[in-house]
């Protein structure tokens, strides 16, 4: 019996919280008091304003009926919503009553053995919905640039002292071993799920952290809502991808999905595959990919690990979204490819079906003038933990080497960055040592191919010219010479505009073999090195000296903008739920007077 190797990496953590926790040194602090922001959730309909008073403890009562009634009275107290943006001292006492009621409810749910009654379920779910499901406040900059979680400081939830406890209570309620989803599902339905997914767009990372765990638990307990939940998440992704590119919670949703996918049974259902190909993979298109890339890659890798035959359609669609003009996204795409190759290395049978399309793209990246892209392309099979990829390459060297060789040779000879030249050269040496016979063959056909490509190109240009001459000759243009009387006037003038040469005079922009600008016959192959490959070439000799370059594990991330010290403090105080420190945090919370 062959046991399937499973995708064993730990799921990546979502969100800003992580960043604040892991590199606190990276965060610049704003001067105190410079943050002019209104941090408020909306207290538009400030619920039933009953007057709050201290009630006796639930545990102080004796009969079960009395306890149930008190539990529900306390829950009702918690339905009162307070406006935390309004500094009204008269509210201090009722706010504290609600906070203490919540704390007591948490404790009751954790410590009491008595089962929950249907009335209690109903009251709890109404209370949670009243407290949590609210219209989200406007984003930082609703009319200007799109919200970029990398650059902007989050708006923290003003009512957090209460909201956090509500989340905490609900989590413990759902996690309790006395919780019965069969009864709860009468009160917790599709609408609840929909509203919960809506607030994933919240800008407060602490809230999204709680939501993530809550959604995960609810998904686990309510089997009948799973299908619905996945569908709604799919709608969120599709709207994000194809409509507004505007959502704060994508990475958290992906993190939840990561563990959901983990639980999918084999063979995968058609709807799951559709989810992957039509909702997950297109997420690569978004401008904000860097925000949720690790989570997305994790999900995709999980799918491919379950069914390696999916690698081909996934890669084909990934490559068709290739970010041609965005080099930092290209690096992320290369990482996705690397991750997929790692999974495939566990299922080598499927490698043959994808090697050609993947290595063509890698060859293109190696020849990129952007050195980080080239570096990532070159290091895909040589970084420490991916020997398995190198193994695959070795086995299929006769297919892969002819694809890579032109780029490697070209880069080793003429890339502007010395380290990249050196890396290329050492990889060429590596290939020589792997299979010198295949290497010889490749060199043999290399020059031939260059010659053929050149001829093909000339032929193509000629055909276009013939067609255009016959149909619309006015489209053809003559090469224009550089006018030699370009203005030599100094440009630092206040009164006279410097004469700028008009673009149609610029021969560099204009020379397109005389063809109109919308016909571009690629010449990248033509500019590759034409001479014969020689390992002993003196050009290469100096490269041997260069130390093997450091491979940059981390993409150089955008420096975060200065943040408000209060915000940083609030985020650092938040203990991520899956840290295993929740009970510790709980004790801190319990003894913590929030108004001080």
């Amino acid at each position: 019996k062959v046991e399937m190797a499973s995708y064993h990496k730990a799921p990546p953590k979502a969100g800003l919280l992580n960043k604040v926790k892991t590199n606190p040194a990276d965060i610049l602090l704003k001067k105190q008091g410079s943050a002019l922001k209104s941090s408020s959730s909306r207290f538009l309909k400030v619920g039933p304003q009953e007057k709050l008073e201290y009630l006796p403890k639930i545990t102080s009562l004796t009969t079960d009926e009395e306890k149930e009634a008190m539990f529900i009275r306390k829950i009702r107290q918690c339905c009162v919503i307070f406006d935390f943006t309004d500094i009204n001292l008269a509210q201090t006492v009722p706010k504290e009553i609600k906070r203490e009621a919540l704390l007591e409810l948490v404790e009751y749910v954790v410590n009491t053995k008595a089962p929950f009654t249907p009335l209690m379920y109903k009251a709890v779910i109404i209370m949670v919905a009243t407290n949590l499901f609210r219209p989200l406040p406007p984003r930082l900059n609703p009319s200007g640039d799109k919200f970029d979680p990398e650059d902007n400081e989050p708006i923290l939830e003003a009512a957090w002292p209460h909201v956090q406890l509500v989340y905490e209570f609900f989590l413990r309620f759902v996690e309790s071993n006395r919780f019965d989803a069969g009864i709860a599902k009468q009160y917790l339905g599709k609408k609840f799920i929909q509203q919960m997914l809506d607030i994933f767009d919240s800008e407060d990372p602490r809230e999204r952290d709680y939501l993530k765990t809550t959604l995960h638990r609810v998904y686990g307990k309510f089997l009948s809502l799973r299908n619905y939940t996945r569908k709604k998440i799919q709608f969120i992704f599709l709207s994000f991808c194809y409509e507004d590119e505007y959502h704060n919670g994508i990475s958290e949703l992906l993190e939840v999905l990561g563990s959901v996918i983990n639980g999918f049974a084999l063979p995968l259902k058609a709807e799951h595959v559709e989810f992957l190909l039509r909702a997950l993979v297109p997420l690569h298109k978004s401008r904000a990919l860097s925000v949720y890339h690790p989570q997305l890659t994790y999900c995709v890798a999980q799918f491919i690990d379950k069914d390696p035959s999916l690698a081909k359609p996934v890669l084909a669609s990934l490559l068709s979204f290739w970010p041609v003009t965005n080099s930092s996204k290209q690096i992320l795409f290369l990482r996705s490819i690397e991750e997929i190759l790692l999974v495939i290395s566990q299922h080598p049978f499927y490698f043959a079906s994808i090697q050609e399309i993947v290595f063509k793209k890698i060859a293109e990246c190696i020849a990129s003038p952007h050195f980080q892209v080239a570096e990532k392309g070159l290091s895909i099979w040589s970084c420490d933990d991916s020997d398995c990829i190198l193994e695959l390459v070795t086995e299929n060297v006769d297919v892969i080497l002819p694809i890579l060789f032109p780029s490697l040779f070209h880069v080793a000879k003429s890339h502007w960055h010395k380290n990249i030249r050196s890396m290329s050269y050492s990889i060429l040496r590596l290939f020589m040592s792997i299979d010198s016979e295949a290497f010889e063959t490749t060199i043999g056909i290399y020059q031939q191919n260059r010659q053929r490509e050149k001829e093909e190109r000339n032929e193509r240009v000629q055909k276009w010219k013939e067609l255009i001459t016959e149909v619309e000759p006015q489209l053809l243009r003559e090469k224009e010479a550089i006018p030699d009387n370009l203005s030599t006037r100094p440009s630092s003038t206040n009164l006279n505009k410097a004469q700028i040469p008009s673009p149609h005079l610029d021969p560099l922009l204009n020379d397109n073999d005389g063809l109109p600008t919308n016909i571009v016959i690629p010449r990248h192959l033509g500019c590759l090195v034409e001479e014969e490959f020689n390992v002993e070439d003196p050009v290469f000799m100096e490269l041997v000296e260069v130390n093997q370059i450091q491979i940059h594990e981390k993409l150089r991330q955008k420096q975060m903008l200065p943040m408000d010290p209060f915000t940083v403090e609030a985020l650092q105080d938040h203990v991520p739920l899956d840290d295993g420190k929740r009970n510790l945090m709980w004790r801190i919370l319990y003894s913590w007077n929030w108004w001080k």
Binding site: P138, L467, V471, N518, I519
Partner: protein
């Protein structure tokens, strides 16, 4: 045989492995069509394009775009086959492709006969609308109006029932598309349909769980109101449009209220004065007092346009008190928006009303902490000066302006400068000279370059308002004083001013006062930058003195010669620019 050759070239290109080569072929498909001629294009080229339909998005987008120009190649009476290519493109995942495909459909449908619409277009539309995935359904929503506007009434009611199912589709993307494009159907719907089927569609949006769908109801309501008014059924506005607007204004999501806010003036004018007063006014006041600053802001931008539709006494009793609270709103964006808009109210209020009710607000906003607020008031001040009346200007506005002339923000100073010529025209010259001329002169030696530059330009504007004599008497002495300033930056200002003023002054003044007393005195300046600008100013002045060759020869040429021998390279370069006509 000519088609054979063209197709032989084209086919391998369309299937080439390199995307760029395929793209070349697709985006120049017109060239091939031209070569093949109408008949062959229809017979061989169109079917050949089918192979592209499984290609990458970039190719699909190019193809979708190219199809709109095909009527030129195959003749306008034979465009129906193009739908075969466009239908699959309407189902593409990528939004760009779908948008281009639907745009092409809109373009070619112009050439359809009404019969072709029924036999070809409507069946395609029905197919798209009944697909499973959201993309074809969204595309169907966008092109629905084409079929709807060109169908007889029995087909129309069939179509609207299909549209209704789209409106209550499970996917929010389809519902959003349906809501966005419903307004393009409305102008073609008869009143009876409006009351029933159309209203049913809107109602399904009204209760939508997604605020991004609900907010689209605002546009639909406006379209309904406009159409009903056009069809002389404005009476129905109350029963149809009012409940929709009520729901939007009271929505719990700020986005929906924000949307009503941005469209309020349009809505009010579509519903007419009576409904604005009876129905909309309380909602508008509500939006101006909304809990969300964003909503207050967009509502504040609409104040003057909404007020126009209301009787003045209502504006004074209902809106004016809110303006007073808005002028001290905690959010600066709100104050900015209202500062820009309430200046336009003055027209409606008239002289008396403005002085009684608005002037205090203006003065208050002029003292706002935030520069943008002050700026917005000053920027529109010229629209109210004629209404306020000269007496109030001098007693109330001028002191405020004098204060702002030294504002810390140079943009505010710049706005004040722009306002000067207007004031000069209205005020008594003596009064202007006493109060404001010193300011105009003071700006010439401002610490910010932009202000000095604007101050020089301002002198030109003042002279064109007040005349040449004013220049000689009041401005020239000031400028010539500046040429003796110890700071070279200020000396340069005199040169800028000379260059600006030269074109509007008579030759005699240009000769003696500008050229001799301002420009040429600085030829020997110690600072190279000043000498450089002498050359630059002469470049402007020289063409104006074409009729005075003697003066040019005796005064200007020697100066240029001297500059041409300067030790500074840039000065030499500038001296070489002015061309003396011989």
């Amino acid at each position: 045989f000519k088609y054979c050759i063209a197709m032989d070239v084209l086919l391998p290109e369309l299937q080439h492995i390199d995307l760029q080569i395929r793209l070349n072929a697709v985006s120049n498909i017109g060239l091939f069509a031209k070569k093949l001629g109408k008949e062959e294009t229809l017979k061989s080229l169109l079917p050949a394009l089918q192979i592209l339909l499984s290609d990458e998005d970039e190719i699909l987008a190019a193809l979708a775009e190219q199809i709109s120009s095909f009527p030129d190649h195959i003749g306008t009476d034979n465009v129906v086959p193009l739908l075969e290519l466009l239908e699959p493109l309407c189902k593409a995942e990528e939004t760009v492709v779908r948008n281009k495909a639907t745009a092409s459909i809109e373009a070619i449908c112009k050439f359809f006969t009404d019969e072709q619409i029924q036999t070809s277009f409507v069946p395609m539309l029905k197919r798209l609308a009944s697909e499973e995935w959201f993309t074809p359904k969204s595309s169907a929503c966008r092109i629905f109006y084409i079929a709807f506007s060109r169908s007889p009434s029995e087909v129309q009611s069939d179509l609207i029932s299909i549209y209704k199912t789209l409106c209550s589709d499970e996917t929010p993307m389809v519902r959003r598309a349906a809501a966005t494009h419903l307004k393009s159907l409305i102008p073609f719907a008869p009143v009876s349909m409006m009351e029933e089927q159309i209203l049913d569609c809107v109602k399904s949006f009204d209760n939508d769980e997604q605020d991004s769908v609900r907010l689209l109801v605002v546009d639909i309501a406006i379209a309904i109101a406009k159409t009903l008014t056009e069809q002389n059924a404005a009476g129905l506005n109350k029963s149809i449009v009012e409940p929709l607007i009520t729901a939007c204004c009271q929505d719990k999501s700020w986005r929906v209220r924000f949307m009503v806010g941005t469209k309020f003036a349009e809505l009010a004018s579509a519903l007419g004065e009576e409904m604005t007063k009876d129905v909309l006014l309380p909602f508008f006041c509500g939006l101006l007092k909304d809990a969300e600053a964003e909503v207050r802001m967009v509502a504040a931008e609409q104040i003057s346009r909404v007020a126009e539709l209301l009787p003045l006494e209502t504006v004074i009793s209902e809106i004016l008190p809110i303006l007073k609270t808005l002028s001290v709103d905690e959010a600066q964006n709100v104050r900015e928006a209202m500062a820009a808009d309430i200046m336009l109210l003055a027209k409606q209020f008239g002289t008396q009303g403005t002085n009684d009710h608005l002037l205090d607000l203006f003065l208050h906003l002029l003292k706002d902490d935030v520069a943008e607020v002050r700026l917005n008031v000053i920027g529109k001040l010229d629209q109210v000066t004629s209404i306020i009346g000269i007496e109030h200007i001098s007693t109330h506005l001028i002191p405020a302006i004098v204060e702002l002339a030294e504002d810390q923000q140079w943009r505010v100073r710049q706005a004040v400068i722009a306002f000067m010529p207007r004031l000069a025209k209205q005020l008594d010259i003596q009064y202007f000279n006493d109060k404001l001329l010193p300011l105009c002169v003071g700006w010439l030696s401002d610490s910010v370059f932009r202000i000095r530059e604007k101050a020089a330009e301002n002198l030109m504007n003042l002279v064109s308002v007040l005349g040449v004599e004013y220049y000689t008497l009041s401005i020239h002495p000031q400028l010539s004083k500046i040429t003796k300033s110890s700071n070279y930056l200020y000396r340069m200002v005199a040169l800028f001013a000379a260059a600006k003023l030269a074109p509007i002054l008579p030759v005699e003044v240009v000769k003696t006062q500008l050229t001799e007393e301002l420009v040429l005195v600085l030829v020997d300046d110690v600072t190279a930058n000043v000498r450089l600008n002498v050359g630059a100013s002469l470049d402007v002045i020289l063409p104006l003195l074409e009729g005075e060759p003697e003066f040019v020869a005796s005064k200007i040429q020697p100066a240029l010669k001297k500059l041409g021998e300067d030790k500074d390279m840039d000065v030499k370069a500038y001296a070489a620019v002015p061309k003396v006509s011989s």
